[in-house]
């Protein structure tokens, strides 16, 4: 199998994730888009690991998965807090750092 197709897939997923991060209003949806990005990276890592026959790629992918899980946990906790303060979780309205 050509390697590039995995690359392209990975790139596509990543960019979709980017679009999602930028264009979605709900915090949970943003987190989902971040998951998309992380998975895209994972595909890349594993593809290279397979090509180079090096376990390191898969090890990194594992770590990424672990971190992603942790991140989602904390992220949702934060979203919950925001919800508690403001009922609706619209990222547009969170502009306390407005200059």
């Amino acid at each position: 199998m050509p390697l590039t197709q995995f690359m392209l897939l990975s790139a596509f997923l990543f960019c979709t994730g980017v679009y999602g991060v930028l264009a979605r209003r709900n915090g949970v949806l943003v987190l989902m888009s971040i998951e998309l990005m992380l998975n895209a990276v994972n595909i890349n890592l594993v593809a290279f690991s397979a090509q180079l026959n090096d376990a390191a790629g898969q090890v990194f992918a594992l770590f990424v998965i672990a971190i992603a899980a942790a991140e989602v946990g904390v992220g949702l906790a934060i979203v919950l807090l925001i919800y508690r303060n403001r009922v609706a979780v619209n990222l547009d309205e969170i502009d306390l750092m407005k200059g």
Partner: protein, 170 residues
């Protein structure tokens, strides 16, 4: 030779089918107006990723992917949707105003990435002779990357505690 070809062709075909499904689902995640549908589309994407891992002969990782992501993370998302009382119906509220720009940026990045990657790695062929042994991964983790492993476990602990602290009512 025909066996190899057939094998080769089978992997390719399966890759493309799974990739198509994943792509569609990914687009669905970021565009669907129903948040629960978006979550489910994410499930599809994650499953597709697991399938790709299997295709890449990274079986352990594929299993882990299914277990962790689909098993835990998505559940977490759904709980989050529930707890934040997100409107679980079709709502136009889920997209913000900078969609066109975002689309443009995303396309731009995709273009750049695609070009760079294709330019660099075109012609490389994957030559997987046998699946990656889980023991090899284990060895790698507990020998070369043991520090990272410990760090990640610390991270998980911190995230755990942090999430609890953040989210508790008091």
């Amino acid at each position: 030779m025909p066996v190899i070809l057939a094998e080769y062709a089978a992997q390719n075909v399966s890759f493309w089918i799974i990739a198509a499904i994943m792509a569609a689902a990914a687009i669905g995640v970021v565009t669907m107006k129903n948040i629960v549908h978006a979550a489910l589309a994410l499930v599809v994407v994650l499953a597709g990723v697991a399938a790709q891992y299997i295709l890449l002969q990274a079986e352990f990782l594929g299993i882990v992917q299914v277990l962790i992501y689909i098993g835990a993370v998505i559940v977490l998302f759904l709980f989050g949707i529930m707890l934040t009382r997100a409107p679980m119906r079709k709502s136009a509220e889920y997209d913000n105003d900078q969609r066109p720009l975002a689309g443009a940026v995303a396309l731009l990045i995709f273009g750049v990435l695609a070009y760079l990657l294709a330019d660099e790695f075109s012609g490389d062929k994957l030559n997987i002779t046998q699946p990656m042994a889980t023991s090899a991964i284990a060895d790698s983790i507990f020998r070369s990357y043991v520090v990272a492993f410990e760090a990640v476990s610390m991270l998980l602990l911190a995230a755990l505690i942090g999430a609890i602290v953040l989210a508790r009512r008091d």
